[in-house]
Amino acid sequence: MAKQIADFKLIAKEDYGRSVLLRLRSEQPLPDIAPGQFVQVRVDGSPTTYLRRPISIHDVDFQQNEISLLVQQVGEGTRHLAQTETGTYLNMMLPLGNGFTIPEKREKVLLVGGGIGIAPLYYFAKVLVEKGIRPTLLLGGKSESDLIRLADYQQFGDTFVTTEDGSIGEKGFVTQHSIWQKQGFGKIYVCGPKPMMKAVAKLAAEMGVWCEVSLENLMACGLGACLCCVEDTIDGHVCVCKEGPVFNTRRLKW
């Protein structure tokens, strides 16, 4: 699948406090994009931001040549991206990395998202539903404001929520939710902060359930050339940008 580099026009923005949803349209047809893949966005006009920023693909509309990104402002680069004015262009490289493994139709699937890690699960859930698979979603955050677009996620399947402050859903971490006692799953997919992903991976391993996680190591090139974003695996150091960002947890030395 050929990668492309293109200017995307920012056509709409939705403000979610610390995060912002960017809807971007290309003049040229989009390449095939698998759920879990990401883009590298060039950050123009920020003197302290030199490298592109890897952002997971939140949603895709092939009819409109549109991509949505959910950007959390964590530093100067992402803050600059969040402040992009509607009507201006962002230069993006895409699609990068490998997406989530598409499950068999009969499998019971759980998608676990934490914080901004819920972002790629939107497009993944949408694709699963298109394929006739109705996933269960378990989304966690520090408080209610972290659960961006919750109602939109709920359309894809049964959706359970935890917050650390108990402002919505069950109080605690995703690994503490009562769903784990009540239901079994054939495949678990996780995206969120590393400690949370490790905790879910451990739980999955204890239950003997197949599990994939999506990593977000610091990266430079996004193409597997610079070897900066490596994760320690049973095959040695491998690039998250090229061999990931999605990994089966059995491959990781966690």
């Binding site: 580099i5 050339a225 610079c226 070897l227 900066c228 150091h237």
Partner: protein, 304 residues
């Protein structure tokens, strides 16, 4: 019509002066969706050592103002793996494929060079005596005249094609080091490798890199690199290949004017994967605009 050909000697002839720097372009394969390799003078593939290396732990990268630090630490699968697995995939690229060879002992350099010498489609080796990220690494050889003389003269005995020596900027007098490389049989020198640097996370009171220090590259190093190319080009008779922060054709022309015969593009490949091709085109356009019939005529054309 501008003649873009560059002859660096001992069989290394470039279609144009633009090569991609080792460690920033993988094995070329990673970039073929963005770059027509036949539009480049050459690609220099990832630093390779005789034995496989896992490199340093994560995190290996820290962004800086107009640049980045890395401490990858020469992660690679070794010369034999390159010969068996990678070389067959890339040997027919329509450009010069150079291999960057590094080592931690003299014997490793010599053995590695001997093995690479046997590969028909590799016209040159870039000898890396300047990696700042490996404990007993190449840089130990690259920071003294005695060290560089030893490694270059020993490799010269077994390597019969074009031998380019990549110099470290982390020295007191780079021209002396370049002269030592030249006297020991180098066909050309390339400079600069990364500048040793460091980054700290003040909030966490921790270093940002796993091994604390790393090599600085990107636009921020350009003035230092340009000055060193100028100093070295005045000192040596062999061709100088300039690199360090080149991000566009104007930067590349500046290195040529300072005395470089060819240039390499490194970190800029991360920001625009197609930049190398654009630089080659832009240098040609510069020559047309300024009445240079040959790109090679830019070398040392600085008016002082």
């Amino acid at each position: 019509m501008v003649n873009t050909k560059i002859d660096l000697g001992r069989g290394l002839v470039l279609r144009n002066p633009v090569m991609t720097a080792s460690g920033t372009f993988g094995y070329g394969e990673e970039y073929t969706d963005f770059v027509d390799l036949s539009q480049l003078g050459g690609i220099i593939v990832k630093g390779t050592t005789l034995h496989p290396r896992e490199g340093n732990p994560y995190p290996r990268m820290a962004e800086t103002a107009s640049g980045m630090l890395n401490c990858v630490g020469l992660q690679n699968k070794g010369v034999q793996y390159f010969i068996d697995t990678i070389y067959p995939r890339i040997k027919n690229f329509d450009t010069n494929v150079l291999l960057n060879l590094s080592g931690s002992t003299l014997e490793d350099y010599v053995k590695g060079a001997e093995m690479i010498d046997a590969l028909d489609k590799i016209p040159a080796v870039e000898l890396n005596v300047s990696c700042p990220n490996v404990k007993q690494g190449g840089m130990a050889f690259g920071v003294t005249c005695a060290g560089i003389s030893q490694v270059v003269s020993e490799v010269r005995k077994v390597y019969h094609k074009h031998l380019m020596v990549k110099l470290s900027p982390n020295v007191t007098n780079i021209a002396e080091i370049a002269l030592a490389a030249e006297a020991s049989g180098a066909d050309s020198v390339s400079l600069i490798n990364t500048l040793m640097g460091m980054a700290i996370d003040a909030e966490k009171r921790k270093p940002k890199l796993s091994v604390i220090t790393g090599g600085l590259s990107g636009a921020c190093v350009k003035p230092v690199a340009l000055r060193m190319v100028w100093q070295v080009a005045k000192a040596v008779k062999i061709p100088v290949v300039g690199l360090g922060g080149i991000s566009n054709a104007t930067d590349a022309v500046e290195f040529m004017l300072a005395g470089a015969s060819a240039i390499e593009i490194g970190t800029a490949n991360f920001i625009d994967p197609a930049v190398s091709m654009k630089v080659a085109e832009g240098m040609k356009e510069y020559c047309e605009r300024h009445g240079f019939e040959r790109v090679a005529d830019l070398t040392g054309a600085l008016e002082v």
